[in-house]
């Protein structure tokens, strides 16, 4: 609270840059968690902006009408305010700058957010997503894969979950040896197990790890045996793919630092494939350029298309999707297991594995399934949420839109397969906001161990049950469980022209660019009405029966 210099400013104008006549006047309030703008209009419309969602606050030179202040949010909303007094503007700026940059976890919103749940419900909520149940859904443990206690108390790898699934044939010594030969101990473990119900009966798997510590010549027989064990866990296949999601040059450069990639001569029967997804720094710059394009004042079509090209954003999205397509094809069409890694195995690897899983398994295209997938491939496997999404004031070089890209890949797939996903675009956008907002505990910290040490389950609330309760808002009206698109593997086209600018996400800087009518909302309303009609129909049909019994009157339908 000590940060708030001016809790209330009157006669503030909220500006709509594209349609100035839609600008409104109201009162601005600063609370410890939100900036709130209440319009003076009859309706007293309120706009709430969470401090933790604020990306930056910029003050423009004071002019005759007041002091302009621009609040840019991590979910790409931009609020343009005009504050009558320069002093008030400076106060708001100073307050917001401090409030939006917490330095310690304890200051995050999730620790004060209290939706009035009792202790029991809160604990139950944290059990809503259960990864053990998810592996069991995949058929794990089985005669080929089992759980290992090797990472109990995170002693093997502090950024991995404590429960790891490995080939049964891998001995404890091999597991420990392999971990020693991998960057940060992130050894190859199971991410997804594909049981094919078709005549092929493929049982290929997707495993993940970090890069091996090969340098120019080092090798580890344990690590080689580990890969051998993974390959052998797929009895019908004679080789396995190692997908290095980095550009080959980057992978080679890592050898100088004692890291690198698998030597095909040392590992029997592996095929190494580079995909060429760029690193987090390239992605961060790319997204910034994309955001800048969205903020151009009155861009011509050329400005926009040139900016889109120059940002490179869609090229990177295509690279991530291509990685997923390669892995899914290997697993589903060729029945070959795949080990995926990048450098640390927590960014590009998470993207590639989860995109492949969405393509392979219809479950991950449901609302619950996507939650499970994020919990498994991202949260449990140590994707560094707090670093990547700048939850705390920290190293700006650690920030990168890795998850944004995964969500966008799913969105691009939704454009090609409109009936394949149970959720709508709104769900993805909501997830995106929550990843940045720190309202719930799910995405706080950088790995499972850190979350345990922060006692998040006791001190914060889980997002998943909250989203699940409101799932009606996020459903895709075109989704039907018995539709052909909801079955089997998705095979998207990844030609350049198939990728679109995600207007729902990046086109939000200006209110007036928002879509006017949404077919999805319209269809959802129709479906809701149909449901009510169905109910009315069945109740009507019961009435005559009662009458029939009671009074002996016949109904001629």
């Amino acid at each position: 609270m000590e940060h708030i210099r001016t809790p209330k400013v009157e006669n503030v104008r909220m500006i709509d840059r594209l349609t100035p006549r839609k600008s409104t006047v109201g009162t601005l309030y600063l609370s410890s968690t939100h900036t709130i703008f209440v319009e003076n209009s009859e309706a007293h419309k309120e706009t709430w902006v969470l401090h933790s969602l604020v990306y930056n606050v910029e003050r423009l030179p004071t002019n005759s009408s007041g002091s302009p202040l621009i609040i840019r949010c991590k979910n790409f909303h931009v609020y343009r305010l005009l504050i009558p007094q320069e002093k008030d503007c400076l106060d708001v700026l100073a307050s917001l700058t401090q409030l939006s940059c917490p330095e310690r976890y304890g200051e995050l919103f999730c620790f004060s957010f209290n939706p009035n749940l009792d202790k029991e419900l809160r604990e139950k909520a944290w059990g809503f997503i259960n990864l053990k149940a998810e592996f069991s859904r995949m058929g794990i443990p089985c005669n080929l894969w089992h759980v290992t206690a090797a990472n109990h108390e995170y002693r093997l790898c502090d950024t991995y979950p404590s429960e790891l699934f490995v080939p049964k044939s891998a001995s404890p010594a091999v597991i420990v040896g392999s971990a020693k030969f991998r960057s940060r101990g992130r050894l190859p473990v199971l991410s997804y197990f594909h049981r094919d119900t078709s005549p092929n009966l493929f049982i290929a798997s997707i495993c993940r790890s970090s890069q091996p510590l090969t340098g120019f010549s080092a090798r580890s027989s344990d690590d080689e045996q580990m890969l051998q064990a993974i390959m052998k866990s797929n009895p019908v296949s004679e080789f396995m793919y190692v997908v290095d999601t980095r550009p080959k040059l980057n992978a080679m450069a890592n050898r100088a630092a004692g890291k690198g990639y698998e030597n095909e001569d040392h590992y029997t029967n592996i095929k190494l494939q580079f995909i060429g997804i760029e690193n987090i720094h390239v992605m961060r710059n790319s997204q910034q350029k994309l955001i800048d394009v969205g903020e151009l004042a009155a861009p011509s079509m050329s400005d926009f298309l040139w900016g889109l090209e120059n940002s490179g954003w869609l090229k990177h999205i295509k690279a991530v999707l291509d990685a997923g397509v390669f892995i899914a094809k290997a697993v589903a069409e060729d029945g070959v297991s795949v080990l995926v890694h990048c450098s640390d195995g927590w960014d590009r690897t998470a993207q590639a594995c989860s995109v492949a899983s969405v393509l392979l398994d219809p479950y991950y295209r449901t609302i619950k399934g996507l939650m499970v997938l994020i919990e498994k491939d991202w949260v449990s496997f140590g994707h560094k949420f707090s670093h990547r999404y700048a939850h705390l004031d920290g190293d700006p070089k650690e920030v990168s839109p890795v998850m944004d890209q995964f969500l966008e890949c799913v969105w691009q797939l939704m454009q090609q397969f409109p009936c394949a996903f149970e959720f709508s675009e709104r769900f993805l956008i909501q997830l995106h906001t929550h990843i940045y907002s720190c309202q719930h505990g799910n995405f706080i910290g950088n790995c499972q161990k850190e979350r345990r040490d922060l006692r998040l389950q006791e001190r914060t609330h889980s997002l998943w049950p909250h989203l699940w309760e409101n799932r009606a808002e996020y459903t895709n009206p075109l989704y039907r469980t018995d539709h052909s698109q909801t079955q089997g593997v998705l095979k998207p086209l990844t030609t350049a022209y198939c990728f679109k600018f995600w207007k729902g996400m990046y086109g939000r800087a200006e209110k007036s660019v928002a879509s006017h009518q949404s077919p999805a909302d319209c269809l959802n309303a129709v479906r809701e009405e149909s449901q009510q009609l169905e109910e009315e129909l069945s109740s009507h049909q019961e009435v005559p029966r009662e009458m029939d019994a009671g009074q002996g009157i016949h109904m001629h339908a």
């Binding site: 539709h483 350049a496 149909s530 009315e536």
Partner: protein
């Protein structure tokens, strides 16, 4: 029959048809006077029937004795025919070439086509100017229908009946016509019922370098202004282009002579530039090997989306003048047959809910494009694969349809029709069995006796069986003015046309079917519930005497 002379080899067996994203078909290729037909002679296999008029260009190549003809169509599809035998291939190629470039209009397919359906409503009689005028008369008495152009001598590209201000006599109209390019004097295009403001259209005034003026022209357009009101002249050309036009006898309205009008210049491109833009766009869309950078840079370089934006922006401006400013508008470019019509017709879609119904949209196309003298035959002679010397080809109408699609996409519930109608119109404007888009103006169509010798497109479209395909299931009549966003990120590539043949549309078609299904199921339920409610109400009234003690 002269076609026979052009067909050296009417039939070849063992021809293989290859199309992207579709299975290959092997079968017999037949050439008739108007069609290229490929049939596998098996049941359940789709046959290919391609109008020669739809063929934009062909390429042939040989590997040994196997010849390949690449046929590029005006609807943008590209097909490949593998023909065994070099001589057969050469013969087929030269026949296609000859048959697809016939010069004489009267040899076109519409003159030979006999419909397999019964014409219930003759499309040639569906839209008569007198009918539209009756509607106008019910709202205002300030306009009259003039027959000054009944023999097309005042303006060859105008129809015989024109709506003009009541107080302007025919003699003045003739004088004004002599002051406008091609005799296209200002006429009424649209009357905005809400406030009585109007859109008029014309061609450029012939001011020339010495600033000629014409009192009758000034009087004509001033007659549309209420006392003390100002109007806007939207010149679709940049000021520079308009200045240059003076040297060729054209020009623009001088402020001094039109003091009640404010002139605004916009920058809609000329026809030849638009054609070039289409060629580049389609080239970009057809290369699947493009990297993302190359694709985006080619899309940008084609300028197609920029053209869409400029046209829509100008249309919004016209609509804004009418609805927001309460001012009347006169639109013109150079000839008044291209960009002018894009602007006036799109402004009406924005302003007038009637234009967003199927019938109203047909009326709009009939009135603002066909009757208004857009030279369809010249503009649509060649499409995106035209490699020869171009004459006056330009995708002016296609751009209009693209703009309509953009608005439709932004207001998916406000149109009675769907994208299929727009795509169908694009196809038929370029190649058709119907006579509707033949000729360049009303006078030409009369000479060709199209209404007697050919079937109208509308006769076919308006059959209930066909209409169904064009109905938008999401339609909820909306009586408001709809303001489309013209921000670049709101304007998309029209995939339904430009990527139509470059991807499988199975999943998108399924989604559409799903949408139709949801809405039809809802209607079905509503009917059931309503009928049950009625029965219940009836039962209650019948029972009530029994139940009341």
């Amino acid at each position: 029959m002269e076609f026979a002379e052009l067909i050296k080899t009417p039939r070849v067996d063992g021809v293989v048809l290859r199309r992207p994203f579709m299975p290959t078909v092997e079968g017999t290729l037949c050439l008739t006077g108007h069609h290229l037909i490929l049939s596998s002679r098996q049941d359940n296999t789709e046959e290919l029937w391609l109008l020669h008029a739809n063929i934009d260009s062909t390429e042939k190549r040989f590997v040994g004795s196997l010849g390949t003809i690449i046929v590029k169509c005006k609807d943008l599809r590209v097909i490949q025919l593998d023909i065994p035998g070099m001589e057969e291939c050469l013969n087929i190629a030269s026949s296609i070439e000859a048959l697809s470039t016939l010069d004489s209009v009267s040899l076109m397919y519409p003159f030979f086509y006999r419909p397999l359906f019964e014409v219930i409503e003759d499309g040639w009689q569906s839209f008569v100017p007198e009918e539209s005028f009756k509607d106008l008369e019910s709202m205002t008495d300030e306009w009259r229908l003039s027959e000054v152009n009944k023999d097309f001598s005042v303006c060859p590209s105008y129809p015989s009946l024109l709506t003009v201000p009541r107080d302007i006599d025919d003699e003045s109209l003739c004088k004004a016509a002599s002051f406008r390019h091609g005799g296209r004097f200002p006429v009424l295009s649209y009357y905005h019922k809400k406030n009585g403001m109007v859109i008029m259209r014309a061609a450029q005034p012939l001011t020339g370098t010495n600033g000629r003026r014409c009192k009758e022209d000034e009087k004509l357009i001033n007659a549309t202004l209420c006392a003390g009101k100002r109007g806007y002249i939207i010149d679709t050309r940049t000021i520079a282009v308009a200045q240059q036009a003076k040297a060729r006898g054209g020009g623009f309205e001088q402020e001094a002579n039109y003091p009640q009008w404010r002139r605004i210049h916009k920058a809609i491109e000329r026809s030849n530039v638009l054609q070039d833009s289409l060629i580049k766009l389609v080239e970009a869309c057809n290369d699947q090997s493009h990297s993302m950078d190359r694709w985006l840079s080619k899309l940008e370089a084609s300028n197609w989306q920029s053209n869409v934006k400029e046209i829509l922006t100008t249309a919004c401006l016209a609509a804004q003048c009418i609805d927001r400013e309460g001012a009347s508008v006169l639109v013109h470019g150079t000839e008044g047959t291209d960009s002018t019509l894009q602007v006036t017709s799109l402004a009406q879609i924005i302003l007038d809910p009637a234009c967003r119904t199927i019938r109203g949209f047909e009326v709009l196309i009939e009135r603002e494009w066909l009757q208004a003298g857009h030279p369809f035959q010249q503009r649509c002679a060649q499409s995106a694969y035209s490699n020869g010397k171009l004459r006056s080809e330009a995708p002016v109408f296609l751009l209009f349809l693209d703009c309509v699609w953009q608005i439709l996409r932004q207001f998916p519930c406000s149109f009675q029709f769907n994208e299929n109608l727009l795509i169908m119109l694009f196809e038929h404007a370029y190649a058709s069995q119907f006579g509707t888009f033949l000729g360049n103006c009303v006078a030409e169509r009369g000479k060709l006796q199209l209404s007697q010798k050919t079937v109208s497109l509308w006769s076919w479209v308006n059959r209930p069986q066909e209409l169904e395909r064009f109905l938008n299931p999401l339609y909820e009549p909306n009586n408001l003015v709809i303001w489309p966003s013209v921000a670049p990120q709101s304007l998309l590539l029209w995939e339904g046309v430009f990527l139509r043949w470059n991807r499988s549309t199975k999943c998108l078609d399924e989604a559409y079917q799903e949408m139709v299904h949801i809405i039809e199921y809802n209607k079905e339920l509503q009917n059931k519930v309503n009928s049950l409610r009625r029965q219940l109400a009836q039962l209650e009234t019948e029972d009530s005497p029994l139940q009341t003690p």
